[in-house]
Amino acid sequence: MLILRLAIASLFARALTVGMTTLAIALSVALFLGVEKIRTGAKASFADTISGTDLIVGARSGSVQLLLYSVFRIGNATNNVTWESYQDIAARPDVEWIVPISLGDSHRQFRVMGTSVAFFDHYKYRQGRDLAVAEGAIMSDLFDAVIGADVAKTLNYSINDPIIVAHGIASFKEHDDQPFRISGILEKTGTPVDRTVIVSMEAIEAIHVDWQGGGRIPGQSTPVEQIRQMDLTPKAVTAALVGVESPLQTFSLQRAINNYPEEPLLAVLPGVALQELWAIVGVAETALLAVSGMVVVTALIGMMATMFSALNERRREMAIFRAMGARPNMILSMLVLEAALTATFGALLGLSLLYLGLVIAQPIIDSAYGLWLPIEFPSTRELAVFLGVVVAGAIVSLVPALRAYRLSLADGMLPKT
């Protein structure tokens, strides 16, 4: 107890240097835990992009690629899936529901996705949450479009605004003879749906009626009334989301689709594909964590350096302690205790900085990146980091403390010659 009182008093006596060391540790701890928080948050929101879907079906490529273009709208499909194959799969008894997805057109920087109304019933995110319409309603007419929250915000759209879909991606050719009407705006989800314009499968067919091979057939413009009369059954889909009757059939359905003889198809389990994708993306995240870990180490070494230089100033102090009857290992434990206390204050301050930062940044990060960082009691992992910093602080301080221990046997008591 005496040692604790002495250590605290000694820290207060050197409030400025100790304060600086504490601040350095605090910032490093806040950085490390912040990175950890973003890492776990990003991983969770990544895994939450799609749920409730048992299989994603597309042309045979790789599971990660299929996941990227069908769910994240990154990259393009190698091939489409013919409507016949789609119907074949849909007709299987183990398929509970199937939702087509047709990609390939864009509106400004956003992708346009053709799908069926069932998409709104079956696409789930964040552990089973449904898509919700913030304004208006889902499409009911051929030329209705539902837009994601980011589309509405970025382009400043509201219900009933006209919207023109461009052919291809980043193309100047626009399907300007058939403007769409915005019928609904979805609530923010933090998934790629936010950056998507959703129209019906038939609408995708309709806008391509007068187009062939990337260009409009010259002089031909089918009036909208005539298009409405046409048979707009899609010829192909880009991918399909499938739900099975029972999880027991997941693997047999997957095998049946992968061995489908008429067309090379690929069915992937979204959860497994997400894990594969995360294994690739996760490398960067580990690097980030390693860098912030080094910052903590640097702060602790900084503390050791200040302790070393303080030893010189405190030679008299140590000598007086010794003269008063303090044993050398009391000097040692006092120095280690000081360091442990500094590290504890630092880690505590770091933790408070982290939570302060979270309170301020949480809504900003959520709206800007769709990344939800939960504010909750520190996890066991964070507590372990906290404890680790305190223990590491104590261990690091052993180096200067042992030096003080050795010196204090005689140093400062003898007049220097």
């Binding site: 999880p247 061995n259 003889p261 497994v272």
Partner: protein
């Protein structure tokens, strides 16, 4: 041990397009696949393991000894609870178990034994079948577990039963989605806490 990545020349042909469809399955010695699906109290598992893992060879059984090895491999595979150990609290019982050896030749016989004659390359290929063939053991199990939530882990005695097996790639599908895992000879336990 060097990993041998080989591709089996299993021809899976549909009934109509037997001549046009060629597909190759991946085949890696030492690595088996186990799929587990769970719905309520029912657990369905399917195991695909290279012949090299189970009996140590993949050629067509030549001697009495080879045939015995295959029979004992199939017999061991047909007792899933001795290979995959579930916690006692889950009270898992086997309702159905089957295991069989499938080789390249079997595929020909089962699937399209009738079109042997019109593939000249095939005839040639089959002459070399003894050197190039790959075989796989397939097993399917149905289990009934009174308390699936008690399945906190699965211990793989599989690796003790089959000294040539090094790794199992596991996929689990349940109502909450699918996940993949890997168990190895060095770490033969699968931690499933919070999964069901």
């Amino acid at each position: 041990m060097k990993r041998t990545l080989a591709i089996s020349t299993i021809l899976l042909a549909g009934p109509l397009l037997a001549e046009d469809t060629r597909q190759l399955d991946a085949h890696e010695h030492g690595v088996g696949e186990l799929n587990i699906a769970i719905d309520g109290t029912t657990l369905a598992m399917e195991l695909h393991a290279p012949g090299a893992d189970i009996v140590g060879f993949e050629y067509k059984a030549k001697s009495e000894e080879d045939r015995k090895a295959i029979d004992s491999g199939v017999a061991t595979l047909a007792r899933p609870l001795e290979l995959f150990v579930f916690p006692a609290a889950a009270e898992c019982n086997v309702t159905q178990a089957s295991a069989a050896l499938e080789s390249e030749d079997d595929h020909h016989d089962h699937d399209h034994g009738h079109d042997h004659e019109h593939h000249d390359e095939h005839a040639e290929h089959e002459e070399h079948a003894e050197e190039t063939t790959h075989s796989e053991f397939h097993a399917e199990y149905n289990l009934n577990c009174s308390d699936p939530s008690a399945i906190s882990e699965i211990t793989f005695a599989y690796f003790e039963a089959f000294p040539n097996a090094r790794e199992l790639e596991i996929q689990i599908a349940s109502a909450s989605g699918a996940q993949s895992f890997e168990v190895t000879r060095e770490q033969p336990t699968l931690d499933l806490r919070g999964m069901f």
